[in-house]
Symmetry: C2
Subunit: 159 residues, 2 copies
């Protein structure tokens, strides 16, 4: 989607799903650009933020909390560990586990990413008034909540 000059009033362009995915695309691009200017991507932020919020944890727990798939967790941690933003340590009490924790550099990086993220939000919402932003957020929250309930989070195969 980077085209010039063609009549483009296609009929699907008013559909909620289209508006959502396209707007989300712009949002994602803004956020990703902000992150990449700090050499990071979405998963990096999510992992760092999760660590900051809940403290050191195993990869599996981090995956649950951040919504990052276990198999992607590995690469994400590798990337962050390479940059020494995060540390992998063996859990003496359970030798299956790694305990991942934030380094001071990681905390600093997180603060940087959060700044970038805040800027992205502003850029994203630029055309909306504060009240409109409020309403949009509320509507999206309702939608997300509804669909999260139906699918994703908290399907209990146990119990």
């Amino acid at each position: 989607m980077e085209n010039p000059s063609d009549e483009t009033p296609a009929r699907w362009k008013g559909l909620p799903s289209w508006l959502l995915t396209q707007t989300a695309g712009h949002a994602g691009r803004l956020v990703a650009d902000g992150f990449s200017s700090a050499g990071a991507r979405g998963y990096h932020y999510r992992l760092l933020a999760t660590l900051a919020e809940f403290g050191p944890a195993s990869q599996a727990a981090l995956g649950r909390r951040s919504g990052i798939h276990l198999s992607d967790m590995v690469a994400t941690i590798n990337e962050l560990a390479e940059r020494e933003l995060v540390e992998r340590a063996l859990d003496p009490s359970d030798r299956r586990r790694n305990i991942i924790s934030l380094t001071p550099a990681g905390e600093r990086r997180l603060r940087l990413l959060e700044k970038r993220l805040a800027e992205s939000q502003d850029e994203l919402l630029a055309p909306l008034s504060p009240e409109e932003r409020e309403r949009l957020t509320e509507l999206l929250s309702r939608l997300l909540d509804h669909h999260d309930r139906r699918t994703g989070t908290s399907e209990e195969p146990w119990r």
Copy 2:
């Protein structure tokens, strides 16, 4: 994102960009599921719809109108041509071009996909009242318009 049972109130989950991308994820999944039940995916619908709306055209023109990248156009047309939903013919007046057109089967498939698409919209917006759907659509349109203007569509490097 298919996890059970973990405290998941992470602080980024109220951010507009998060709400947008996640909701869009659900929307995309709903739509994709609808399409895939007819053996299609997003690009297929977009191409078929573009053909139906603007008539036969070259791959390049279709790309411009549908927002599908030229390089993805090739595969998309291949897939649709295999199923005989679309036809590739040489343009006698310009031997660089292919003229792509919809077959009767293609039109029928498009109608099916449109039905599925409409169902997806309903499912997506289920928790919202008609007025709320209206407001959401309006807000998203404003956002999309704003960002489309700034980036994507209609950067004229010529002229």
